[in-house]
Amino acid sequence: MNIIVLMKQVPEIEKVRFDYEKGRLDRSSAGAVTNPFDLNALEAAVQIKERAGGSVTAISMGPMQAIEMLRDALARGADKAILLSDERFAGADTLATAYTLATAIKKLGAFDLVICGEKTVDGDTAQVGPEVAEFLGIPHAAYVEEIREINAKWIVVKARMEQSDYILKLSLPALITVTKDINVPRLPTLRDKLKAMRAPITIWTYDDLSQVADQKYFGFEGSPTRVIKVFTPVTGGRRGQMISGSPEEIAAKIVHILRENKILG
């Protein structure tokens, strides 16, 4: 079983400072960590490998510092790690990101399963997984909470939608995106951690991929969406408004507030 895990390095979200006045974000005090959902994706892959044999390859697209994250992935059980890093990949939206990742997966050759996190904590779109599946022309299941069965031909998963759980059988190769409920990522052993510190990471640049893809779909140029500006929602402190009146008046005012905030239709 050849399993590919897609992993993204993200800023430590609790430490990013949001300047509510200037509408800017300051990442300087935030370290870089693995997108938490991607640890669940990796754990799922390693568990399948432990059961069914095979190998796990972690792939990330990002700046060179993502090597650190990929080393951590090796310590946690990945067999191989590839970083797609090039200035010309930068500024990618989800479409260009997915295209680049799908190109790398194709270049790798045969695979059975691709596993992604449900979403990232920074871009937060949850789009890359399904888009990669489309570029690869394989079926996918999003929000997978449980892997029930897997063999060389198919995988059975439980995917959680708002109202119902779907039990889906996907023929392989396929892609799944996983939620935090699927497993508890294991901690690496110190020994594996130290060993991984010295492990080589394969790096693919634009030139490595441009032979097998259409370059105009990479990076900023290949991205149809544009972030025009970012601003911070006006929260900061709480409003602290008192609602007063008779119980009936108060009830009416609460309903009005819920309406204003579209909690109620």
Binding site: E134, R238, G240
Partner: protein, 329 residues
Amino acid sequence: MGSECGVLVFAEQENGEIHNVVYELLGKGRELANRLNKMLCAVLLGFGLEEKSRELIYYGADRVYLFDHPSLKNFDVIRYKHNIVKLVNEVKPDIFLIGATRMGRSLAPRIAAALRTGLTADCVDLDLDDEGNLVQIRPAFSGNIMAQIRTRTRPQMATVRYRMMKPLSRNPNRTGEIVRMETEFLENSGIEILDRVSASGVNLSEADIIVAAGRGLKSPEDLKLIEEVANLLGGVVGASRPLVDAGWIGREHQVGFSGNTVKPKVYIAFGISGSPQHLFGMRDSDIIIAVNKDPSASIINFSDYYVIGDLYEIIPPLIRELKRARGVG
């Protein structure tokens, strides 16, 4: 009114029931289509839904494209994508809106990739600029910032968060056209739905609306009041630790340091004092409404709106008002 489709809305359904977010999208879509001077269309896939497609017209659609076929009865992302992509290539809408439900967020990116167009995730607001381009506002960084996004390609696709847009009121006199589409049947999509079961269990950490109670509650039976408010709002019940410790309610309902960390759009706290351990679990809620008899309770300093009063006096009229608002009883 122009004749082309300006805005297309995906009419998500499950079990033949149209998701409420669809009516909200039709509300917003109507406004955008009017400003573009084009038609508002909806696309509905399923089986035996002729009747339901009328509803989409009552809520604002000019035209409904209906794919009615047994293979579309349940959500199969490949079959849905396949037929929708074909439709979009035919009608070429400027804007294509999909609810940011889990179904929508699984389907939309596949369609976007197939069409090689841009997709903006989980929008909370939409507008048009002077040239008629879609301006999309969405939260990112786990809700800490807002981003304004434009799409260079067509259609401009966006998933839109539930409970963000206002639906029009239902008007059965509104007229429109239902276009029955030829479904292209994919024998083998690579996906087989083995079973579909109603999701069970509370999931506080993902709830949008939490109605919580604390020791201000006098007896376990009174939790029914809290439940009723929660049900009327489509939310779930939360609780402070003392109620859990007393065995009045299961531990899965506990909010706080030794319970769940929650981040709903609205958190209503009845008879909760606001201890640091409780606040730890709910301080990131978008809106906090507190009802407490004691003006010195610390939750008041952490709320957006507060009522100094007896929950037993506030809840009954609140239930009445909510029922009225929802048109029940």
